[in-house]
């Protein structure tokens, strides 16, 4: 339960950080809040040669409205974003989904971008980013590129990030409508077994997002007043390419979708 030896690097800038990544390749990991990374190191599921600590890089600590996007820098903790006073007005889905992210104590250190980088299929922040069609800003010594959420997260704990790239920010589209969110976990704050969110896009259209049921977030668009919405949800629950683990069988995951999605949709309509 102790990590393997590694080199600890504390670069002063993003340029220095990505140079270190380029030097070590796949043998380096970015350390921000460490709330997902350090458990994996302690279990020795990961044995990197170097950790690149980016918490102190000043350029990465911004929460900024930029056009119709909310941009969050890679050093911003989850609790800092959650206590940003305008969050509920600009990104209502995040304001209600983020209290489900880990515990008060892990949100104090865990970062918004770290959760995106970790790409756990049941995590709330990647689910929210996928539902809203947000963007991930990556930087390497070769320059910057911006990926859509569904281009970035490619599977369970896997992403399109190249070995010499780091996430410098994520962008959440603002101005989406009313949102609802629920999940089931063994203990509030533990990884969700299944999480379901819904966002009202217009009076006639809603977005439903499901986390924890497949290897990445599943997002669907539905007519909100169509009479057969519930049968479409029922069909989706049976179509999901779901998985079985210690916490739940495939059947249980389908049943949780069948229970949670109608509850979230009716909350959205109320």
């Amino acid at each position: 339960m102790k990590p393997r030896s590694f080199e600890y690097l504390r670069p002063a800038s993003v340029d220095e950080a990505v140079e270190a990544l380029a030097r070590y390749g796949d043998d380096a990991r970015i350390l921000a809040g460490g709330q997902s990374l350090i458990p994996m190191l302690n279990f020795r599921l990961l044995e990197p040669l170097a950790l690149v600590d980016i918490r102190h890089i000043a350029d990465l600590s911004h929460i900024r409205l930029d056009g119709d996007m909310l941009e969050v820098g890679a050093a911003v903790t989850q609790n800092r974003l959650l206590s940003w006073p305008d969050l509920a007005r600009h990104v209502p889905l995040l304001a209600i989904a983020m209290p489900w992210v880990g515990h008060f104590q892990t949100r104090n250190r865990g970062t918004v971008c770290g959760s995106i980088a970790h790409a756990d299929p049941s995590s709330e922040i990647p689910l929210s980013l996928a539902m809203l069609g947000g963007e991930v800003v990556l930087q390497s010594p070769r320059g910057r590129r911006v990926l859509k959420a569904d281009e970035f997260q490619t599977g369970m704990l896997s992403t399109a990030r190249e070995a010499d790239e780091m996430i410098v920010a994520v962008r959440f589209p603002t101005g989406s409508g009313k949102a609802a969110f629920r999940e089931v976990a063994r203990r509030h704050g533990d990884y969700a077994i299944v999480a379901v969110g819904a966002v009202s896009l217009s009076p006639s259209e809603i977005l439903v997002g499901i986390g924890g049921a497949a290897d990445r977030p599943v997002v669907r668009r539905y007519a909100s007043n169509g009479g057969d919405l519930m049968s479409e949800i029922e069909a989706l629950a049976w179509e999901l390419e779901t998985y079985e683990d210690l916490h739940a069988s495939q059947r249980m995951r389908r049943d949780l979708v069948r229970r949670l999605a109608p509850a979230v949709i009716s909350e959205l309509r109320s």
Partner: protein
């Protein structure tokens, strides 16, 4: 072959006192506090961020000390359970409430829970019972069944007592 990395000098403020120690990069903050600095009130439970026993206050916010490395803490301000009682060993209001409500039995989880609520009550002096339960979700206690812990915290909230004496710069 076990490869060791050179130790790095770490200077931090622990409970108001400047302290220094040497740490290999892989040394967890928990082990640094307990073994290098000798403050053993912080307990080690699961070492992967689930149980909350090792919770301390790092630069003003409660966090798991098993999910941080000592080398990250150069220049940091850390508060542990040892900061709560005064020099004569008189417990603060939160600790007294835990004793009065029988909010602990074996006490293994207690130091972490006290530090979580020390941070939380500073930022939210008048939380609801549900908010207190939500913070307590970040801890495991196998003795009490949690109800007495919630009662103890709510007692402090209702008495409007300051959750702890001021220990200086945070």
């Amino acid at each position: 072959m076990i490869e060791q990395k050179p130790k790095q000098r770490v200077t931090l403020t622990l409970n108001g006192r400047k302290v220094t120690g040497d740490a290999e990069p892989r040394l967890l903050l928990t082990d640094f506090i307990r073994h290098t600095l000798g403050a053993t009130g912080t307990h080690v439970g699961c070492e992967h961020g689930v149980c909350g026993c090792c919770t301390v206050i790092i630069d003003g916010v409660a966090a798991r000390s098993c999910l941080a490395f000592a080398v990250q803490m150069d220049g940091a301000t850390i508060e542990t359970v040892e900061s709560l009682a005064d020099e004569d060993g008189r417990m603060n209001a939160l600790q007294e409430a835990f004793r009065r409500h029988h909010a602990l039995q074996c006490g293994f989880c207690t130091s972490g829970i006290l530090m979580s609520f020390t941070d939380f009550l500073r930022r939210n002096p008048e939380p609801s019972r549900d908010e207190v339960v939500d913070v307590l979700c970040g801890h495991l206690c196998r003795c009490t069944g949690y109800a007495n812990i919630v009662d103890a915290v709510m007692d402090v909230v209702e008495a409007h007592a300051p959750p702890q004496r001021d220990i200086g710069a945070v």
